[in-house]
Symmetry: C2
């Protein structure tokens, strides 16, 4: 084991009275029960009864199971944090139903049990059998952790053991891997939960085998020998075009990519293998420097839900699936534990507050699957989706949010994110309470109270976000000039009960600009304050889409006092609006539209489409010279 | 008959030594034979043998016939202009094959004869049976006109008579109409070629019946009574959501729309009915003022190949099908004869020189189906398409190009377009030769020589394009100050053999701006000179996509002396390039990219993607103030 840092357990982190406590309350009280109802209404829950018969509608889909597993995982996190007898009962009932659907040999997938049992393990490229297995393992670990009930964890091990018999390098085994990565990271989780090293080895096998010639999916295709079968998708779309350790560019389906890279990061953490780290570094740079939306969205293309080429980041047609931002958070989180470097935390925070959080409405009832950076008014939140991966994925992210705030090692505590609440920790064998008092992300002042049971020396790393130009820190009222180590303030001292830190992160509205190779942002800027990207909506800004912005200096944060956005901080300032006078009878002209001063109201990106339908823009043109 | 103006017959108009003579030579010598080969290779020609049997590949498609008919039409135009024995032989052979495929009752459609004969006339919404009939009628008229051979024209009448028996208002008839308009305009053409008024009445029936409740397609659907049938597309996509005369906004599939509106314009010309004119005016404004790309492209959305909402004109994802620009030219041409107003000619010319002509490569061998206004480098010309409507459509447009230049009435001649060549005309009973000496569209000077057999008085209308700010005119060396009447200079005089006019249209590079509601052009401008929209390609401009342009003043037209673009006029000038220095390790920054002066080379939009693959932009950002 080469792990030095590990995430602090989410259940030790409580959010109280701030931004996240409200979001998590909505998640717990509204979205978690609502998604359960949707899963039920659409037949996903009932499918586990295995009573489907040919001709009956709906036909279970081959990855329906995963939607249910993600809900089980989310509900377990909710339950681990606080008791909830009715939720516990529902979970137990569902766990029983799932366990009963497991086949005698350990196999578990509804579709390949009742709809196409003969096709089991015949088409890993498309079947999602290992993908659904992975989500089952994650759910089983979470459920066991929350309830102590070992039924699902035992079922998971039986299934993992079956998979381990079928797949592997041995002469009687098949050298396969799934078209949709997920089982790899889940197997590492199962290893961590059970201590059974063979699950780690199986994860390693899947990761290392992926894309190796001769290609397993070619072999499967030959074995199926079905002339009517459509052409396979290009293996690049599934990150299987060459061995993973030879991949240098993030390509293909974005969610699959970041799930795959997360599994690789887990393996790197468990093995310390430098080859994995080098691959992860290259892939990270490919994403973070060339393929990332300002919002933390990834996967620009709707076709294949995939990454586009370097710097190709279209706004209105941005796919930027909610699940992809969530997976990016998973991946960044793992990299942070390998290397406490701010560059990972920046992306994790941007994705969390923007491209992931935009996936659910303020009331917790409507969802975005696709998160464009501009809309002419036709893109709206929906109650659910036929392919329903995103809503339960958000549930489990939010229900385990504490996991993303802190890493700890024997004598070290890293603070990656800020938010009002308290964590219970143990450092150097001493239990301590770590309290954050802050209105982050609306304000940049963070009060930290560190209360060890007795004085204890450890290194505290506090992230100073990259967007923050000026910051100050004091300890027990004495100001301190700290040094940044890869973006973290490092404080190495003996901490005593009641020690208080005041970290003040200057949080000003600012204009952000994109790399010149990003054509879709050329001549434009975006408004950002702290970790929040802002956007303009038509409901606030009658001139959209032609609102111009030249500076952020006039912008002030303004708290909304009432209405649907109550409690949120908007940015209000001045920009320019292209006048439509004289344009009634022409669509094009040799004269440029005249710009006139206009008030501008910007809302956090994650908040858009919570009110009236209408256009939205993140990237705003800057007023041309001479206009 | 209320027609006043009529197009001058294309075969009377010859292009010599200028822009169009070369384009038409390539069309005649390369594209026409090449598209025939493609039609042959893909099975479209052989399908007329009616020897398809179940299980054989390829299965004829239900509108394959139309691709062949458009080729027949184009080849007939080529033949009408100059003799070509081998083309004539091929056409005759093909005409015989087509005629032989006609069924004893007059029906003609390969798919519904050999593949699904039982489905004849059961699903007009999807079947394209009347659409292919319409293209057959157009081909038949053209073939007869070119060869004097009446086989196809007789076959067309038999088919039209069958259609007229099946469809119509009578108690034994069906009140149907096709999902893809085309037969309407073709029936008017058949009426004009044969004098049989019943074809005009049938066209009127189809146009007036369209969208009337109770909806015919609902009735067809009930009659098919097939529970497995997918939901119909929204009727709005096919311009059948309400009666045509109640439609006020251009919606749905753009090609279908402009074919439909062209048929309505034909009906308006033949009947003089003011209701038709009012509808056409409203629909024209919807397109020309709110849904038209600068290039003359229409139909912004790939999904459904349809118009988007007002002012929604995305660049990179612009669909702007070649056929849609061609259909827009058809429509604008018809409106010009109803009302010689420049506004129609402007759109016709823009579509011709940009969005339509871009559909074929300079060498005539490769085609665009989709004509975006920006590309990050992945959109390229292709040799052919599975849905191959565009290439043969371009063939027939170019082969009959003369049709778009002049309109004539008893005592009037309107000149809509300029191009080197000569036309033979008859005005007021006097034959005359009308010669244009010009390098248009590369230069704006046009010398006109008018040579009537004997002095004759008539009104000459010369279009002064809207892009032209300054112009001068002289007659036989004496300068003249004329008055513009709806954009045309009106000269009412007695013309004598050898009269010479010199029209000088100032043609300067200029920046064009879009209506403020067009968000995708906010803060941007496009380069235009004369009728040509220019674009930047990566092969000439290393800074793309971040090339900024503040003025057209530095731009000069430069004739290319050699290489693949030889003879074309580029625009060379100065702009600004965003420097990538300092951006190596960041994708976003609070500092705007620095702009540095850069040479800019622009090529006519229709020329793009004729050299190295790479990015392209029409709308260029203007340098922000202070940068």
């Amino acid at each position: 084991m080469s792990i030095s840092l590990q995430p602090v357990d989410f259940a030790s982190v409580r959010f109280t009275g701030g931004f996240w406590s409200e979001r998590l309350r909505v998640n717990r009280r509204v979205s978690v029960p609502l998604v359960y109802r949707r899963l039920q209404e659409t037949g996903r829950i009932g499918a586990f009864n295995l009573d489907w018969r040919p001709g009956r509608e709906p036909v279970p889909h081959h990855f329906w199971d995963s939607d249910v597993y993600k809900w089980v995982e989310a509900a377990s996190y909710v339950l681990a944090e606080r008791s909830n007898p009715s939720l516990a009962a529902r979970l137990q009932e569902l766990a029983g139903r799932i366990a009963a659907a497991q086949q005698p040999d350990g196999y578990l997938n509804v579709y390949y049990t009742v709809v196409e049992p003969k096709l089991r393990w015949t088409n890993l490229m498309r079947s999602h059998e290992l993908y659904t297995a992975g989500h089952f393992f994650e759910a089983a670990v979470a459920y066991h952790r929350a309830t102590g009930d070992s039924r699902l964890l035992e079922a998971a091990q039986r299934f993992a053991d079956l998979i381990g018999r079928v797949f592997g390098p041995g002469p009687e085994q098949r050298p396969g891997y799934d078209g949709h990565p997920e089982v790899e990271l889940a197997l590492v989780g199962l290893y961590r939960a059970t201590g059974r090293r063979r699950y780690l080895e199986l994860a390693r096998f899947f990761l290392e085998e992926r894309g190796r010639p001769p290609h397993f999916w070619d072999r499967e295709r030959r074995e199926r020998n079905d002339p009517a079968e459509p052409e396979p998708v290009p293996y690049e779309r599934l990150q299987a075009h060459r061995p993973l350790l030879e991949q240098t560019e993030a390509v293909g389906h974005a969610v699959r990519a970041v799930y795959l890279y997360s599994g690789l990061a887990d393996l790197a953490a468990e093995t310390g293998d430098r080859r994995y780290r080098r691959t992860l570094d290259r892939l990270w740079e490919s994403v973070a420097l060339r393929k990332l939306y300002l919002t933390g969205g990834i996967g620009a293309l709707a076709v294949g839900e995939q990454f586009s080429g370097d710097y190709h980041l279209p706004n209105e047609t941005a796919y930027a699936e909610t699940c992809a931002s969530i997976g990016l958070i998973f991946w960044a989180r793992r990299l942070l534990d390998l290397d406490c470097d701010r560059r990972y935390a920046e992306v994790m925070e941007a994705a969390l507050y923007n491209g992931a959080l935009s996936g659910v409405s303020l009331d917790g009832r409507r969802f975005f699957y696709v998160n464009p950076l501009a809309s002419e008014g036709r893109h709206h939140r929906q109650e659910f989706f036929g392919c329903a991966c995103c809503p339960p994925n958000l549930l489990r992210l939010l229900a385990s949010l504490g996991r993303y705030f802190y890493s700890a090692a024997e004598d070290e505590l890293c603070v990656h994110l800020y938010g009002a609440g308290a964590a219970r920790l143990e450092i150097s064998g001493v239990r301590l309470r770590f309290v954050q008092e802050t209105d982050y992300p609306w304000e940049g002042r963070v009060g930290l109270e560190i209360s060890p049971e007795r004085p204890v020396r450890f290194r505290l790393r506090l992230r100073v976000p990259e967007w923050c130009r000026n910051w100050s820190l004091s300890i027990n009222g004495t100001s301190l000039s700290g040094r940044l180590s890869r973006g973290y303030l490092l404080l190495d001292r003996t901490w005593r009960p009641g020690d208080r830190l005041a970290l003040d992160l200057e949080m000003k509205p600012e204009l952000v600009h994109a790399h010149p190779a990003v054509g879709t942002a050329a001549g434009c800027a975006a408004l950002r304050r702290g970790p929040l990207v802002y956007c303009l909506e038509g409901v606030d800004n009658p001139g959209l889409p032609s609102i111009f912005i030249d500076s952020a200096r006039s912008f002030r944060p303004v708290r909304v006092e009432s209405g649907p956005l109550k409690g949120l901080v908007l940015l209000k300032g001045r920009g320019w609006r292209a006048s439509r006078a004289g344009w009634e009878k022409r669509l094009y002209s040799d004269r440029a539209p005249k710009l006139e001063p206009a008030p501008v109201i910007a809302v956090p990106y994650f908040v858009w489409d919570n009110r009236a339908a209408g256009p939205m823009r993140v990237w705003l043109p800057r007023p041309p010279a001479g206009s």
